[in-house]
């Protein structure tokens, strides 16, 4: 854009409008359930995970990373999945599912 264009307001700076619009719509879409499972996980999930690690670690030696907690909504079914991978025996996998 030339200085004359700018002076006479011949062209608008539209990229900043684009950015603003995108930020608003994407914040909305990320939060909404538009894609089924792509939604914010509940805020208590990390704490649940930590407490579970603590309990399991009382009995078996595990890494923090070895325990995965995953929550998922499908229609009117909610699924809480807890997955613990035991270290020394490689593929040994204890998993436990609960529906509510």
């Amino acid at each position: 854009m030339s200085l004359l264009d700018m002076f006479f307001g011949r062209k608008k700076i539209s990229a900043s409008v684009a950015k603003e619009r995108l930020q608003i719509i994407l914040a909305h879409e990320r939060g909404s359930n538009a894609l089924g499972e792509i939604e914010q996980s509940p805020s208590w999930l990390p704490q649940l995970q930590q407490e579970l690690v603590d309990v399991v670690a009382k009995y078996i030696h595990i890494d923090k990373e070895a325990l995965k907690v995953h929550i998922e909504k499908r229609d009117n079914l909610e699924l809480l999945e807890i997955n613990v991978t035991l270290q020394d025996k490689g593929e040994n996998n204890v998993s436990n599912k609960k529906t509510s």
Binding site: R21, E29, R30, N83
Partner: protein, 271 residues
């Protein structure tokens, strides 16, 4: 074990196939045994971009359906010994690929190759889902334009919730942002989103910026991946992507418009 990389975008026509061809060629030229797989069932195009369209006998669907072996269907690149192409089929039946079938092909390719590059179709339907499902890493191709950025965001959501790694609770797919068809002049004029804007919005690390260039058309006309067009900016930009992907530290290039002269700045023109 091979590393599986999907080239994806959501939106159509942003440069996925162009990127798949150049990215796979670059890795192969760096000495890695690489295969590039066209997932765009019904709209085969990668073969044209790679310049091997007349050598397609069997395709991906033939292999999945057991009508040909992988060995029969893989096409060796004419320029590079380390590079193979698996063409998409021209069948109209979009259901021809099954998740298990694709999984088996990926497993078999994994034994022989270092990298498996998956050229995704546009959209968020079955074809693009299968292209990203098995991925370890993703290159999200985005144009500096609102609908492309929004679609990339949706794809990132799918990568982090529906891919094999997500479903199995493994470590996340590593996603890289590749901005293509970038026009620094229009960005400086405030007419187009900048790389920085796109990074701010999508919040994934940038692997490169490919400028808009007529050389890409010439590359496709002649069936030579753009990375092989010597002494062009596009080729240099793709080589930078390869370097960064392989862990080299490369400064970002080609993101600033050439400086204009005094009269051009006052009266405009020249762009």
């Amino acid at each position: 074990m091979a590393k599986v990389i999907v080239i994806t975008s959501g939106k159509g026509g942003v440069g996925k196939t162009t990127t798949s061809a150049s990215f796979a060629s670059g890795l192969a030229l760096k000495g890695f045994k690489t295969v590039v797989v066209d997932f765009d069932i019904g709209l085969r195009n990668l073969d044209l971009i790679m310049g091997c369209e007349r050598r397609v006998v069997y395709d991906f669907v033939n292999v999945v359906q057991g009508e040909a072996t992988l060995h029969q269907a893989l096409i060796k690149d004419k320029n590079c010994d380390n590079l193979y192409i698996l063409a998409a089929s021209q069948t109209k039946d979009k259901e021809a690929l099954t998740q298990d079938g694709v999984g088996n092909v990926i497993d078999e390719l994994s034994k022989d190759f270092d990298y498996i590059v998956c050229d995704s179709p546009a959209g968020i339907e079955r074809g693009s889902f299968l292209a990203l499902y098995f991925a370890d890493e993703a290159i999200v191709v985005t144009n500096p334009e609102v609908s492309s950025v929004r679609d990339s965001d949706r794809i990132l959501g799918i990568l982090s919730s529906k891919s094999k790694r997500a479903v199995e609770g493994k470590s996340k797919i590593k996603a890289h942002l590749l901005v293509t068809r970038y026009n620094p002049e229009r960005v400086e004029n405030g007419e187009m989103l900048s790389v920085k804007d796109i990074e701010d919005i999508l919040r994934i690390p940038l692997i490169g910026v490919i400028p808009e260039s007529t050389d890409v058309l010439q590359a496709s006309n002649t069936g030579v991946p753009a990375i092989n067009l010597k002494e062009t900016i596009v080729s240099e930009a793709y080589w930078d992507v390869i370097g960064r992907f392989l862990g080299e530290d490369k400064e970002l290039r080609f993101v600033n418009a050439p400086r204009k002269g005094f009269f051009q700045r006052i009266f405009g023109g020249g762009n």
